[in-house]
């Protein structure tokens, strides 16, 4: 089977093209030995014969300074994909061609996909692809990946290229009659290194084709540059000279093939939008407003503050999901003998536990919908820039911001996103702080408790909790900067992509992925936990079916409960819920559902975990608030902890993080409850 690699600058539309080429047949894994995400997929039938598409990380160069650059370089040289598809953004062609030159220098079979032709046309740019292709010496195919235009032609060219290469590699004809005859295989008897030295190397040892790696090289017409070897990396001067030579070459190529519609310095609509959105005064308030609007749409019971009892889309969808699960439970109920263990296991244990967790899926999807939307529209890079100055005060850089923002979705991908940070200390700091961002799995806890005890202000309470998590992260950051990571923060350079209309396909695919992850977890970890909890909550040490308050779980909960007494929730149900929350934060509510036998309650009253049910457990408004604060901060879930360990590459920091967060959680909840009691709020 053929294998094609996709490569390109961040924001060049690589993901869009990858989605277009592979549909939903994507597989996400890791590059061997490292923790960078590797996406692969199968080429859809309509684009040609069966092939594997490998999505390389988005990079600006192949200098091998960052992990992503090294991975891409090693993949091309060692795995030898049949064709490398280089995505170049048409509206930003000069800068993008820099990477193109570096790929071509490796001597690989490649095709340039000139993306976003529609936007270039809108700007009035005219790009002559035939001239561009001829000047570069690499096939160039214009596409508009978002609309799927040109993709078939692109893959035809790629397929032809792969075929040509296969033929020319096998051909054992003597070659190289003249300088213009590039793009050929090697005679078996000819030593590639010798061929390179003879034909593609200048007197300073510079080359424009690393043919030895492929026993083949392309038609690339670029300048001769220094290439690093294993024992001799390039010096600063050599690298810089390379860069200058490449840019000179690119200027020449672009000069012949592109005529710009707008003069340099003329504003486009994106620049105009930036005048407002990155304004030195309005930038930050606007950012906070956008964040609040996002949470409001997800969590508010009082949508748009109309006071009309209209729920926000998130709350409304969650209600629908709850009713559905209730209906489903009701459907199964008659199948079991009343009071039997099987009924307990399925209705109370599984439907109760998994159901409570699944009912929050719509809200998590709504939150992710907004996050993906902002990312897709290009706002996230602005957010990093806006927040950079502020984060710098706390020893972080603006680049920490995106991982931390993703932390509101799920800590696991957020921690993985820290890999994009070049500086090791910045990265370690961000890893440590990200779990304090309240992840989507913690949302159900807040929703249930805030909904039960503070229904009128649920969105405000939830917003405050999110802010509180951020505050703890900031203070922790300051502490770490003082005590541990004393180095300088890496200066920020970030590309601001053009603002774009969000694309239904990419938003949809990302939501699909989130949903799949969430449902998978509900079906595995949560499912198992629900059964385990049901088992321990139904049986006592002698394997007899007992009421829950005499069960093994109650014993464990009772054992740790005294620790929580000063926090206002020193009863076993809270203890048990928090223990299970370590497996997955969603499980806190799932467990409460099981413990409260909400399945039955619902049938009787038509209500879920409300103030009455929680009150019966022992919660008051104040202690429920302390409980929310504790749940917000205490240890990341097991999956997040395992990810921390992997990203730190040691248990030490992961365990320090866990221990630190338990202590902080306890202290904060203690303060909330005790100060609240003193103020007479109990």
């Amino acid at each position: 089977m053929k294998r094609y690699a996709l490569i390109g600058n961040p924001n060049a539309g690589k993901t869009t093209l990858f989605n277009e080429l592979t549909g939903t047949s994507q597989h996400v894994g890791n590059w061997p030995g490292v923790t960078v995400e590797k996406k692969t997929g199968h080429l859809l039938k309509k684009f040609g014969e069966s092939a594997e598409i490998v999505d390389l990380p988005g990079i600006y160069s192949l200098n091998a300074h960052s992990l992503e650059e090294r991975i891409s370089r090693d993949f091309i040289l060692q795995e030898k994909p049949d064709v490398v598809i280089d995505i170049v953004e048409a509206t930003n062609i000069e800068r993008n061609l820099y990477l193109t030159c570096q790929i071509a220098e490796l001597g690989v079979p490649m095709v340039v996909a000139l993306n976003m032709m529609d936007e270039a046309q809108k700007e009035g740019d005219v790009i002559d692809c035939a001239v561009l292709s001829k000047e570069l010496g690499v096939p160039v195919v214009p596409i508009t990946a978002v609309k799927g235009e040109g993709v078939i032609e692109l893959m035809e060219t790629v397929g032809a290229q792969a075929l040509v290469d296969a033929v020319s590699r096998e051909a054992s004809q003597p070659f190289h009659d003249g300088e213009d005859e590039h793009g050929h295989g090697f005679h078996d008897t000819e030593d590639p290194a010798e061929h390179r030295a003879d034909h593609h190397t200048d007197d300073k040892g510079r080359t424009n084709a690393l043919i030895s790696e492929f026993k083949y090289h392309n038609h690339y017409h670029g300048p001769m540059v220094y290439q690093p070897s294993a024992d001799a990396p390039l010096t600063d001067e050599q690298e810089h000279e390379n860069a200058q030579r490449r840019y000179d070459f690119i200027s020449g190529v672009v000069g012949k093939s592109v005529s710009k519609g707008k003069a340099a310095g003329e504003f486009n609509s994106s620049d105009k939008a930036d005048k407002v959105l990155t304004h030195k005064i309005w930038g930050i308030p606007l950012f906070l407003l956008i964040m609040f609007a996002m949470f409001h749409c997800t969590f508010s019971e009082n949508f748009l503050f109309l006071g009309l009892d209209i729920p926000s889309p998130g709350v409304w969808l969650q209600g629908l999901a709850e009713s559905f699960i209730e209906w489903f439970g009701g459907l199964l109920e008659p199948l079991f003998v009343e009071g039997s263990w099987a009924q307990g296991l399925v209705i109370d244990g599984i439907i109760g536990g998994v159901g409570s967790v699944l009912s929050f899926l719509p809200q998590i999807l709504v939150l992710f919908f907004f996050l993906t939307l902002l990312e897709d529209m290009g706002y996230m890079a602005r957010a990093a820039f806006i927040m950079d100055r502020l984060l710098r005060k706390f020893g972080l850089s603006g680049k920490s911001f995106v991982p931390m923002l993703m932390g509101f979705g799920c800590s696991v991908p957020a921690l993985m996103a820290c890999r994009t940070m070049e500086n090791e200390e910045d990265r370690k700091m961000t890893l440590f702080l990200t779990p304090f961002m309240s992840c989507g799995a913690r949302a159900p806890i807040f929703l249930v408790f805030a909904g039960a005890f503070f229904a009128a202000h649920a969105d405000f309470i939830v917003f405050c909790l999110y802010l509180f998590g951020i505050l703890v992260a900031i203070l922790t950051g300051l502490l770490l900067k003082k005590l541990v990571f004393k180095g300088e923060v890496t200066p920020l350079i970030i590309e601001l992509p053009r603002y774009r209309a969000p694309r239904a396909k990419s938003v949809g695919l990302s939501l699909w992925k989130t949903m799949k992850d969430y449902v998978t977890r509900a079906g595995t970890i949560i499912f198992l936990m629900s059964i385990v909890i049901w088992f321990f909550s139904t049986f006592n040490g002698h394997m007899e079916m007992v009421d829950i308050d005499e069960s093994m779980l109650a014993a464990a909960g009772n054992f740790i409960a005294p620790i929580f007494s000063p926090l206002g929730f020193g009863f076993w149900t809270a203890g048990v819920a928090l223990i299970t929350g370590f497996a997955a934060k969603e499980a806190v509510i799932g467990t409460m559902g099981v413990l409260a036998k909400v399945g039955e309650e619902e049938a009787l009253e038509g209500g879920a975990l409300d103030a009455t049910v929680l009150g019966a457990m022992g919660f008051t408004p104040l202690s429920s608030f302390a409980f929310m604060v504790f749940s917000l901060l205490y240890v990341p879930c097991f999956a997040a902890l395992a990810t921390l360990k992997r990203e730190y590459n040691s248990w030490k920091w992961a365990l320090i993080q866990a221990a630190y967060s338990i202590v902080v959680a306890w202290v904060c909840a203690f303060l909330v409850f005790q100060v609240g009691s003193l103020l007479g709020l109990a």
């Binding site: 310095g265 620049d271 820039f385």
Partner: protein, 70 residues
């Protein structure tokens, strides 16, 4: 003068950079090399947004300090 001293709306050209090693390589790969024309779209306490080679980059003061312009 340094790029960090340029005000909003300045159009200038990079003449030199004092960055070295990895920082220099990053500037290279983003097109921030001597001879390039820059348009400062915004300059504030948050840093600067510049237009170069048809792309927009947001850079903080520490980076702008390493770029000499004329």
């Amino acid at each position: 003068m340094k790029l960090s001293e340029a005000t909003t709306g300045t159009q200038c050209r990079i003449v030199d950079t004092t960055a070295t090693g990895r920082a220099r390589a990053r500037l290279d790969s983003l097109g921030l090399v001597a001879g390039e024309n820059i348009h400062v779209l915004s300059s504030s306490f948050a840093g600067q947004i510049i237009q170069i080679k048809g792309s927009r980059l947001a850079i903080c003061k520490a980076v702008a300090d390493t770029l000499e312009i004329a």
